[in-house]
Amino acid sequence: MTEATTTAAPVEKHELETRFPDAVKAEARPGYTGFLVETSKLTEVATALRDEMGYDYLSSVTAVDYYSDAPNAENFIEVVYHFYKSTGGGALEIKVQTPRENSTVPSLTPLYPGADFQEREAYDLYGVNFEGHPDQRRILMWEGFAGYPMRKDWKEAYFEEEVKPFKNRWPEGQVYRIEDRNPFNKNNKYPQGFDPVGFKETDDPKLYEVLERAAREYSEDIDTEQVVVNLGPQHPSTHGVFRMAVRLDGETIVALKPVMGYLHRNHEKIGERNTWTMNMPFTDRLDYLSSMSNNFGYALAVEKLMGDKAAPPERAEYLRVIMAELTRISNHLWAVGFLLNDLGAFFTPSLYAIQERELILDIFEATTGSRMMCNYFRFGGVARDLPEGIYGKIKDLVFERLPRKIDELDIYLSENELVRSRSEGVGVITPEEAIAFSTAGPVLRASGVPYDIRRADPYSIYDRFKFEVTVRQHGDVYDRYMIRLDEMRQSLDILKQAITDLPGGAAGGEVMNGKNPYQVRVPAGESYGRVEGPKGELGYYIVSNGKGNPARYHVRAPSFINLTVLEKMCVGQKVADVVVNLGSIDIVLGEVDR
């Protein structure tokens, strides 16, 4: 929200503009912030940003297609970067523009290795060629996929309509199922000249080639043969459909590449077809273990664009914080329980964690109507007030039961020899690496970087609460487990304050700013709303062209970006540690694939 005010302030040239007078221009489009950078100078500017101005954390990289089928209209693809300082503060947003044909942008992976997957995603979905990227392959689609699905002129087979609501629903009302129009085997598009008989697979050879390249640097005294093993995609420890191709020397990991994209949810494509309001329940489905936090980020992003008319009332702000923190606790309970599952402890620890989570879900169910797909936030407030009796229930849980149960988990697990010997010193990430790889949330803080968006760049009313940003110093799996316990305790602290201060208390009050319209108009512009989700920085980059549907809807998914560091964690370790390392990142595949 501070960015919006800086644009209105008298023009004072930013350091970046004075340093690169030819290459950097301040954004002039209404509703936009940040700087436009000359494509050829991007690396230079980014180097200066990182080394001299302290913007060492590249949070998000994404592309936007500015496409118009009107003649003589300007068509280009824009790559958007969000930089932050790991010491805190607001964003520095830079953009480069490239023509839609043969779009080429220099890769920032040598400077910020965390851009790896995000650039691959932009290449995959928008066809932007990142020059200098070490491993530019498709990431969510398969290699033979025709076209770049997120481009505006890409139409899927059986394309219905550009934006919702679809006409055949209303007022014509013709009922049919999409599969009736979708005869078997014909709902796919193939590349031009595709011959199913002579088809040769391209994905896996490319993948193995990359693995081999990565393994070349590895040398052992004993002459052994390396083998490639695929872990997943249908394996209980891969937390869904996720595959890791590893190259092994004996039992030691030499190289590892995650392979994802089995879900094909088209979250962002659907998001651009939906109206603004319709996206809210879709955000629930991103990370189904923490749907309230997902709602939160999206609501913030849209409210930022809508301005004061969507400022939530006091009680709604408190309810949002209460729900988000309860979500964090339930998510961490799940993560801690399942980390033990990954260690081979099977289900007993998970069950004790799940029991507490169920009690939190009971609260969600009574308040929002659903245990996991809450769909609770609205632009300008929350959907409904706490029903009768729930205030007391939250109070009981937060003040009595949860602290006791978190202590129990602590007693049960933290000093356990098996847990310690399997997780201490495993998957170590140094603070420098954690920042460079754009990791977020518990992974970042377990490496000793005290970066928490609730403190570093406060949103909502988090600046009113007293809590600590917990840090652990070793950056191993054990610390990533411990940091989750610490965070749950901090969340309880926040909850205790929020419940006590909740305006209106158990009696209720105003939770919506004005009416709750079924269709909102969002002024033209762009915004990036981010929250500290349980898994890390969850950001929504949205572009509005003033119409009823978003022009661009991008999710900066913490699960996805935290996976960039997985290879770094695993190389040199044993194959059994891969599973624990993956478990300690705490991913949800819905968010990885989108």
């Binding site: 919702k164 609501p165 679809f166 055949n168 629903r169 209303w170 007022p171 009302g173 013709q174 009922v175 199922r177 939906n274 109206t275 309001t277 319709m278 996206n279 809210m280 329940p281 879709f282 489905r285 007993t348 004790y352 029991q355 169920e358 009690l359 009971d362 169910e365 009574a366 308040t367 929002t368 109507g369 659903s370 797909m373 769909n375 959907a383 409904r384 029903p387 009768e388 229930k393 009981d396 849980l397 009595e400 039961r401 129990e408 007693i411 049960y412 697990l413 000093e415 356990n416 020899e417 098996l418 847990v419 310690r420 709750n516 079924y518 269709q519």
Partner: protein
């Protein structure tokens, strides 16, 4: 000391194990299982021991706000005729994120103007994501989210596109599953009706007074809000 951590862990498990028997003894004479009270206790902050609910023999009671696929409400008038609350305004279909609602609008056969009553109303419950938007934004309280979550069937193609007949449920059913919401809406409606009646009365009074005012040369009175 090596092994202490394991013993501690085992101790936690052991206390859980013992607790389940202690709880059973505490509940002697009362039903901890297969009773409302017992289920309520097993999901309260004081629960210890076994917390599993033996579905389908035992069912968790759903809270009032719980939402599962939508249904349409009709009122029954004094003569026993069903009257749909739905006016086929289409807001539910317009706001539905997965677009699972289809409404077939009635047309007046002579004037070709729409009649505020749907010919048919379809919801594909396989696509429905239970977000509750249709119920939230319906201006006539005609569509609400149900509590009946058991709808498995053998043939989804035959049975999972609900039509108007299958979707329609009486207002009494709604009042049964969501009493507070129902009462709130009814009071709001009553208030609005009272307001309308008052406004109409004021208007009638103003209309009656107008000729008199005009005759007396007075400026016209501001109409009542």
């Amino acid at each position: 000391m090596y092994g202490l951590g394991i013993l501690k862990g085992m101790w936690v498990t052991l206390t859980h194990f013992i607790d389940s028997y202690v709880e059973d003894i505490k509940w002697l004479g009362r039903n901890r299982y297969f009773s409302k009270e017992g289920i309520q206790h097993r999901r309260s902050k004081d629960t210890k021991g076994i917390f599993t609910v033996q579905y389908p023999e035992e069912k968790l009671p759903v809270p009032e706000e719980f939402r599962f696929v939508p249904f349409l409400i009709y009122d029954v008038d004094a003569d026993g005729n069903k009257q749909d609350r739905c006016t086929s305004c289409g807001i539910c279909a317009k706001v539905c994120p997965p677009q699972c609602i289809w409404i077939v609008r009635t047309e007046d056969p002579v004037t070709k103007r729409p009649v505020p009553e749907p010919v048919d109303f379809f919801i594909d419950v396989d696509i429905c994501m239970n977000c509750g938007y249709c119920a939230e934004y319906c201006p006539f309280d005609a569509i609400k989210m149900d509590h009946d979550y058991e709808m498995a069937s053998f043939d989804r193609h035959a049975e999972h596109i609900f039509n108007k007949e299958k979707l329609s449920k009486p207002a009494g059913y709604y009042a049964g599953i969501r009493p507070t919401n129902f009462n709130r809406e009814e009071t709001l409606k009553a208030e609005e009706a009272a307001k309308k009646a008052a406004a109409a009365a004021a208007k009638a009074a103003a209309a009656a007074a107008k000729p008199a005012d005009a005759a007396a040369g007075n400026p016209p009175a501001t109409p009542a809000q």
